[in-house]
Symmetry: C2
Subunit: 193 residues, 2 copies
């Protein structure tokens, strides 16, 4: 997605060889116009998949996911990282390991929102090690829902996430793919859409 | 907002005299169509205020806030409850006390995103004790930004939040106002918009 690539070039900051900061338009301050374009593009790519639910994880996945859901005319569900005080009913849960924090955390979705009739599109802002997306796939599998694909805003293609998800037989579509962050510079490869 | 009131009546669940659960369309599963209507309505109410930034707090404030920001043609900023690993620079921080959890937590926004030129609209999904909104106002004040108003999706009018915010001289506009949750029933009062 050219507009996204341009935006990363203009407003992204390379903090290290592993870390790209996009807090000016995605992860902290958020540009609604760009998010709507991202949502429309992901919806277009998965238009033939009869998606019934868009699933993401709080917090920075919510903006791209809600616009994708709107374009697909489905609800959006965000998995919780902490149990909410009003989550009183049965939960789908999964463990997500964070390499940066070096600890595992539990993510959850209320069971009532996903079932074996559902065709799910998972949306997230970043794909790096793939642990969050893998956790979301596991939640969907527990519910018997079919994961039709994963829509990613920015993929760090030099990390293992994409391979991990493709090994689970889930199609991955990334709107920007980054080959390297070496020498303080973002090098892109051809995006999926 | 009539559509919102109808939706609360149809899909809300009263868990106790203090707790209304709206996880079917706002706080966990999210309806993008309703969120867009909410955003459009809040933007309309504050249209004359020359808003430059919409500010909310993760996670369930993000969906109504992004649509409000889109309608006002401004960026949206969500305050973080936990420090992000890539938040390396100067932060605006504030302490928010949770009556339910009985503990204080720190919320933050990067200082670079708010300054004395800004006219801020704060948006959140719930107003109860007003502690989160008060924390967001304090962040804006630290930056010298002017808080022009607070747009709330659901106000629990039997709790002290609204009074607290009005005592800070900030106009509050709530799209649904709840008088009581007694006897398992939602009683509304006239909403602000």
């Amino acid at each position: 997605m050219e507009e996204l690539v341009r935006r990363i070039q203009n407003d992204g900051n390379v903090l290290s060889e592993g870390v790209l900061k996009v807090d000016r338009f995605i992860t902290h301050q958020v540009d609604p116009v760009l998010m709507e374009q991202i949502g429309a593009r992901l919806a277009e790519v998965f238009a033939e998949k009869n998606i019934t639910k868009v699933v993401t994880i709080e917090s920075s996945g919510i903006a791209p996911a809600i616009y994708t859901a709107q374009s697909l005319a489905t609800p959006m569900i965000f998995a919780r990282k902490e149990k909410s005080l009003t989550m009183d009913e049965e939960l789908l849960t999964s463990s997500v390991y964070s390499f940066t924090k070096q600890l595992a955390s539990t993510i959850s979705i209320s069971r009532k929102f996903l079932n074996e009739q559902d065709h799910v599109l998972i949306v997230d802002d970043f794909l790096a090690n793939g642990q969050a997306a893998k956790g979301l796939i596991e939640l969907c599998q527990q519910a018997g829902a079919q994961v039709e694909g994963i829509g990613i805003v920015i993929e760090k293609s030099f990390q293992i996430g994409r391979q991990l998800l493709e090994d689970m037989d889930v199609p991955v579509v990334s709107l920007a793919r980054i080959d390297s962050l070496e020498e303080g510079k973002v090098s892109f490869r051809q995006a999926d859409a």
